[in-house]
């Protein structure tokens, strides 16, 4: 029983990470109708930069994480301005450009960081006794807390700030929003940067637990996309619920059915959703 609870909690932790990662994708898709294929690479850059800063430059781990997320955010702004903006209106080209970008970044990561998995230092150590039922690693608990914190921050951002209001206005009706004076170029740029930053923070948070490798970026992107489809495009709630469902299913599936095929559960869910309920759990019915 305690083993099951452990797997379940693992699923929750991964679920939180999935949710943040998916939020990054959902934000960009909802505002710009662009799928960032380089999402997975942003995630691993988050992990790698955080490692390099902490281990290579001796910067305290918390600061390393923040710096690496900030760096990816800035990178995202630049990418939106120079690569994505010119493709507005053409869904196909933005897909192609972000796909090419992902290959470039993947290979660049291989060359810069090498093919070996790296693990930044943990922020906390030891384990906690959960309700007397089982022991669970503190770093993992911290990761769950951080993930929840970020989700909370995003929800605040969307509900209370001008940025969030602009985002909601644009995703409902782009033309109306433009008429009302929403600077959609600025909003797009910040959204994309934020999307990349969310990916990087997911990577930075999970890296002390599961080391990052350059070849893992494909699975990360795919997982994020599956969560967004499952939860429903453009739905914040959907990312959270979908992320947790996928995280739990993958962990339980890997534990009890087969570890090699853990990613297949995501794909089966994707196909299932598309066949039965294409707009996902909370998306707009088409």
């Amino acid at each position: 029983m305690s083993e099951f609870l452990m797997f379940l909690t693992n699923g929750l932790v991964m679920g939180g990470i999935n949710a943040i990662s998916a939020l990054g994708v959902s934000l960009v898709v909802g505002i710009m109708r662009v799928i960032n294929f380089a999402h997975g690479e942003m995630y691993i850059f988050g992990g790698y930069l955080s490692y390099q800063l902490a281990v290579g430059a001796g910067i305290p781990p918390v600061l390393s994480m923040l710096c690496s997320v900030a760096a990816v955010f800035l990178g995202g702004l630049a990418i939106e301005k120079w690569l994505i903006r010119p493709t507005y209106g053409d869904e196909m080209y933005s897909l192609i450009i972000t796909f090419i970008l992902s290959i470039i970044l993947q290979n660049a990561a291989l060359l810069i960081f090498g093919p070996y998995p790296v693990k930044p230092p943990s922020l906390v150590f030891g384990a906690t006794n959960i309700f007397g039922l089982f022991h669970y690693g503190n770093q993992r608990l911290l990761s769950l807390a951080l993930a929840a914190g970020i989700i909370g921050a995003i929800m605040y951002l969307v509900r209370r700030t001008w940025f969030g209001k602009s985002v909601r206005a644009i995703s409902q009706d782009r033309e109306m929003a433009a008429m009302l004076g929403v600077d959609h170029l600025k909003v797009n740029m910040i959204s994309f940067g934020l999307g990349c930053a969310l990916a990087a923070s997911a990577g930075a948070i999970i890296a002390p637990i599961f080391p990052v490798t350059p070849s893992g970026s494909g699975a990360v992107s795919l997982t994020a996309f599956v969560v967004v489809v499952l939860g429903g495009m453009g739905s914040l709630k959907g990312c959270i619920v979908g992320g947790v469902i996928l995280g739990v299913l993958e962990n339980l599936g890997a534990a009890y059915i087969s570890t090699d095929y853990r990613h297949i559960f995501g794909f089966i869910i994707l196909i299932g959703v598309l066949v039965l309920r294409p707009w996902g759990l909370f998306g707009k019915r088409i």
Partner: protein, 301 residues
């Protein structure tokens, strides 16, 4: 003028085995494989505007189906390749049927997922596929001869291209391009856009299966690299750099990039990165690729 040019190219193509050494003949054969792959991918991406990431996966379906049938079932490669083509087409029909209705993004995501899953299955089912070590399968000819393979590839590629050309000039091709230009206007003009896109997707996946089957029996060693995203990227880059949406673009892109990659091979790890950078620059600044640039220069005169 154009016919003379084509005849000249054809003549050169036939004479190739006589003035290339074995190594470069091999490169020529590989580039013909990529011509088939890039052209058929262009059919869906360049002509109907759907970016599929499952193209390399369908080639993998063709290669592994035909290879395993030959190895375990003693089936003659010619039949095996046909079986692989049909299976790829059926899977394409199924996959397309699932996601074409939902729009471009969903198609790209689903094909991406399909591609990764196929690669995972092939890698894991080592008992049958030998996973990453590769599966050794028989060749098409009982006596190995690169020249024979070259002519086989050339014949199939030419038949391929002729069929594609006729398709594109037909009413169906017109419908393809209408859907590419403006799907809404096409549908209110009477075009069944879902059916058109599904047809393009199915036939292109069958073509990838055919190319893959042939490729597998030439290499005689098939690995999960064939249905990988890395291969997918190469095909995409060739179509983009050569010129998506034009007929000659992917052909030129495939041949040019394959020969170029042989020169870059000494740099080892950098070659994908270099291709990526070139492809990115072209996609960003010259979306119609080399063919588009050429036409612009030609029109200026």
């Amino acid at each position: 003028m154009k016919r003379a040019g084509l005849a000249g190219v054809f003549l050169i193509a036939i004479l190739v085995p006589f003035f290339l050494n074995q190594y470069w003949l091999h490169v020529a054969i590989i580039s013909l494989f990529y011509v088939m792959m890039a052209s058929s991918w262009n059919l869906i991406a360049g002509y109907t505007g759907q970016v599929s990431f499952a193209h390399a996966a369908f080639a993998g379906v063709g290669a592994y189906t035909s290879g395993m049938l030959a190895l375990y079932g003693g089936v003659h490669p010619a039949l095996g390749i046909i079986a692989g083509t049909l299976l790829a087409g059926v899977l394409g029909l199924g996959l397309g049927g699932l996601c074409i209705r939902m729009g471009g993004i969903y198609l790209s995501l689903t094909t991406l997922g399909f591609s990764e899953i196929l690669r995972i299955i092939i890698t894991n089912e080592e008992q049958w596929t030998r996973g990453t070590m590769g599966l050794q399968i028989p060749g098409v000819f009982s006596v190995y001869s690169k020249t024979h393979y070259y002519f086989l590839f050339l014949a199939v590629t030419l038949a391929f291209l002729v069929l594609m050309r006729r398709l594109l000039n037909s009413d169906t091709g017109l419908a393809f391009r209408a859907v590419l230009n403006d799907e809404l206007a096409a549908s209110t003009s009477g075009i069944d856009t879902v059916r058109v896109r599904l047809m393009a997707f199915t036939s292109s996946s069958a073509m990838a299966g055919l190319a893959g089957g042939l490729y597998g029996h030439y290499l005689m060693l098939i690995t999960p690299d064939i249905p990988s995203l890395g291969q997918m990227f190469l095909v995409l880059a060739m179509a983009v750099i050569g010129g998506m949406g034009s007929f000659a673009g992917p052909i030129i892109g495939a041949i040019a990039l394959e020969f170029l990659s042989e020169y870059i091979r000494i740099y080892g790890e950098y070659h994908l990165l270099l291709f990526g950078l070139v492809a990115l620059v072209i996609a960003r600044f010259a979306p119609s690729g080399m063919v588009g640039l050429w036409e612009k220069i030609w029109r200026r005169r």
